[in-house]
Amino acid sequence: MNTENHATMICLDVQRGVGAGATRIQRYELPAGAAASLLDGLRWVREHLDPTLALRYSCINANACKECMMLLDGKVVYACVARMQPGATHSVAPLANKARIRDLISEIAPVKERLAGEQEDDDE
């Protein structure tokens, strides 16, 4: 890839895996114009490259639902407001301090709002 092309692309190295299972890094290359934000980029990947990539978000672009938290280059971000650098390669991973469910989805629901939490309550 030459420099000129390079500046028009963005590379995402995404950490993938289910639950406590094995983790692998999958690289996605996408046009810079498809990713003003990290969330834009990941949605583009799902529609154009790989529908099996799991991520969670709800409000899409308003930064209201606060569901799209993940790690971008090691820092906690909301994917909907994290900007992408054309030409750059970014690493993307699920939150480090929460249990992974699949790919970029972590268990972020408060304990009292989980099905398992409810059942435990019933057992008390």
Partner: protein
């Protein structure tokens, strides 16, 4: 598959959806003594449309200026272009006052000045009537307040990450649901004395929308498959000035409406000319008065005539507003805009209509009961209160008021209902459980279910959007059928936790059904009214002052018309004798 990995649960009232309507319903049902399960496919109180609300909540409090609910009611009916169900609109306007006062008592923080609540004057209202929370914080504040109230009541079990797949109907009565627990992939059978659908609207059907991901019409599809009638499905509100360009990160696309309320602003075509008055509306220098359906029409007609902005919309300009005024009205938001490279004293922005709200929905009576005993609906999932066009500010009022009403009704029904047993529920659930048990192979090249959803959104935007024609609607119906064939009977994805293909496949199953409901209703209405504009039938036809209902049973659609529901003669008489408070 084995029966033991199916989780069975039981409650009095099950609420599907935890936005403003769902949470309000939960509070009311629990207060009436019911055990409640409130399930949401996302997080509790974060994923619906409520939290996205930027500003206005319409209600005749008379704080800013003397007012009476009957004035609000008259404006609601006028905006609805003759098609509002009068009993539902009355409930919204009259009981809405208590709902909004209740929110105030719970500390939502409605903006105040000079010792009273501040009420903004939104288009279509005869006076200032809309309370709000600064800055652009109405939705988050309402959602947080309701979340706090819900969490205080231990009769309410809050369950996130639960996607409801189908209703269980036993002898014509709703007795529960089949659901998928996304976190684990487990299948659930939840039995309930009554079920409330509070899943919001369908704006995700459109490519350009202001919705959250969850607004794919789930509740309409659940109701259709259960045999309930929908009403007014052709009336999708397009919000005229959705943000179009330049790309903004971290803003809801409906963000410019509050700017218009507070600062006016000028809507200009690609040539820099004001144009709204050309379409028979008051000029923009008279203030922000043009209603949503009319502004959508004007902008798209300018674009059609080749006078659009570069990105295909209109310009919105605040360049004439002094920076000090901008700061006073929107404080930190001005800095957020600066971070996006936008200085409103120097730059115009581009706006265009985006799908925003659904006037249509599940047909209910004034108690929020659907055609199916034991099945209720609340909030945007309900059709009828707003007719052919919703008045600005009615959505949150409707969500809370209808939610409380549905909660009370469902609790009363559940108290008297004979619950279904576990074995009976398992039998009723068998087809849906079998569907969820499918494990599909890795997707064939080109069979990308996320791309199929995008394709459906394009079809709906192009042919079932703000402007419609017989040719376009028929084309859309053919394309919808083709997409359904392409998807086939097998659900994409597997049975594991948070499988995104499986979730997309279940969503697309709903979206295709609901898209067809909208297109069929739009095809049948051969006139233009409010949010439904037909290129081939321009103009309102008095003969069409009727609501359309739609049902889907055994794969057959039944479309019918019904007279608009009016108040009883006695009720109407008492309204007519009312001397309007504060009328100029």
């Amino acid at each position: 598959m084995s029966a033991e990995n199916i989780v069975h649960m039981e409650t009095d009232v099950l609420i599907v959806g935890a936005g403003g309507a769902g949470m309000s319903a939960a509070i009311a049902a629990a207060q009436a003594g019911s055990r409640v399960i409130m399930a949401d496919r996302s997080l509790i109180g974060r994923g619906g449309a409520t939290i996205m609300a930027q500003m206005t909540v319409a209600v005749a409090l008379g704080e800013q200026t003397p007012d009476d609910w009957r004035n609000h009611y008259a404006d609601t009916l006028k905006a609805g272009r003759g098609l509002c169900s009068e009993p539902l609109a009355r409930l919204l306007c009259e009981r809405g006052i208590d709902s909004i006062r209740l929110m105030d008592s719970w500390g939502v923080g409605w903006a105040r000045a000079d010792g009273h609540l501040t009420q903004a004057h939104a288009p279509g209202h005869d006076r200032p009537r809309c309370v709000y929370v600064d800055y652009l914080n109405t939705g988050p504040a309402v959602a947080k307040t309701l979340r706090t109230q819900v969490a205080r009541d231990d009769r309410i079990a809050r369950l996130g990450d639960i996607l409801v797949v189908d209703l269980l109907i036993d002898g014509g009565r709703a007795v529960g649901v089949v659901a998928l627990h996304l976190t684990t992939g487990e299948r659930l059978v939840i039995r309930a004395g009554a079920v409330i659908i509070a899943t919001g609207g369908l704006t995700r059907l459109y490519k350009r929308n202001s919705a959250s991901l969850n607004m794919g019409g789930d509740g309409y599809a659940l109701a259709l498959r259960a045999g309930a009638r929908l009403i007014d499905m052709e009336f999708v509100q397009f919000f005229p000035i959705g943000h179009l360009a330049p790309r903004l990160v971290g803003f809801d696309p409906i963000m410019w409406d509050p700017f218009r309320y507070k600062l006016g602003g000028r809507l200009l075509n690609g040539l820099g000319e004001e144009f709204v008055e050309k379409y028979g509306h008051a000029a923009e220098n008279q203030g922000y008065t043009v209603t949503r359906d009319a502004a959508t029409y004007a902008i798209l007609k300018e674009v059609e005539a080749g006078r659009g902005s570069p990105a295909g919309g209109a310009y919105l300009s605040f360049r004439h507003v002094p920076e000090a005024d901008l700061r006073k009205a929107f404080g930190p938001i001005i800095d957020k805009l600066a971070a996006n490279g936008i200085d409103l004293t120097k730059n115009d922005i581009e706006v265009a209509p985006i799908a925003h709200y659904h006037m249509g929905g599940i047909r209910v009576d004034v108690g929020m009961a659907t055609d199916i005993p034991g099945l209720y609906a609340a909030g945007e999932a309900v059709g009828g209160a707003n007719g052919a066009n919703r008045l600005s500010g009615n959505a949150i009022t409707e969500a809370i008021t209808f939610g409380l009403q549905a909660g009370r009704s469902a609790a009363a029904f559940a108290q008297a209902a004979q619950p279904a047993g576990e074995a009976q529920a398992a039998r009723l659930a068998a087809p849906a459980l079998a569907m969820l048990d499918q494990e599909s192979e890795a997707p064939a090249p080109g069979a990308n279910v996320a791309a199929f959803i995008a394709r459906l959104q394009e079809i709906m935007q192009s042919h079932v959007g703000p402007f419609r024609s017989e040719e376009g609607l028929n084309l859309a119906l053919r394309e919808i059928a083709q997409l359904r064939d392409t998807c086939g009977q097998t659900l994409a994805g597997g049975t594991g936790p948070q499988d995104p293909e499986r979730v997309d496949a279940l969503d697309l199953r709903n979206m295709l059904l609901v898209a067809e409901a909208v297109a069929r209703s739009a095809l049948a209405r051969r006139e233009s009214r409010g949010a439904h504009q037909r290129d081939d039938y321009p103009g309102l036809d008095d003969g069409w002052t009727l609501n359309q209902t739609l049902s889907w049973r055994d794969g057959q659609w039944t479309l019918a018309t019904q007279a608009v529901e009016r108040l009883t003669p006695e009720e109407a008489k008492s309204l007519a004798s009312h001397e309007q408070v504060g009328q100029a």
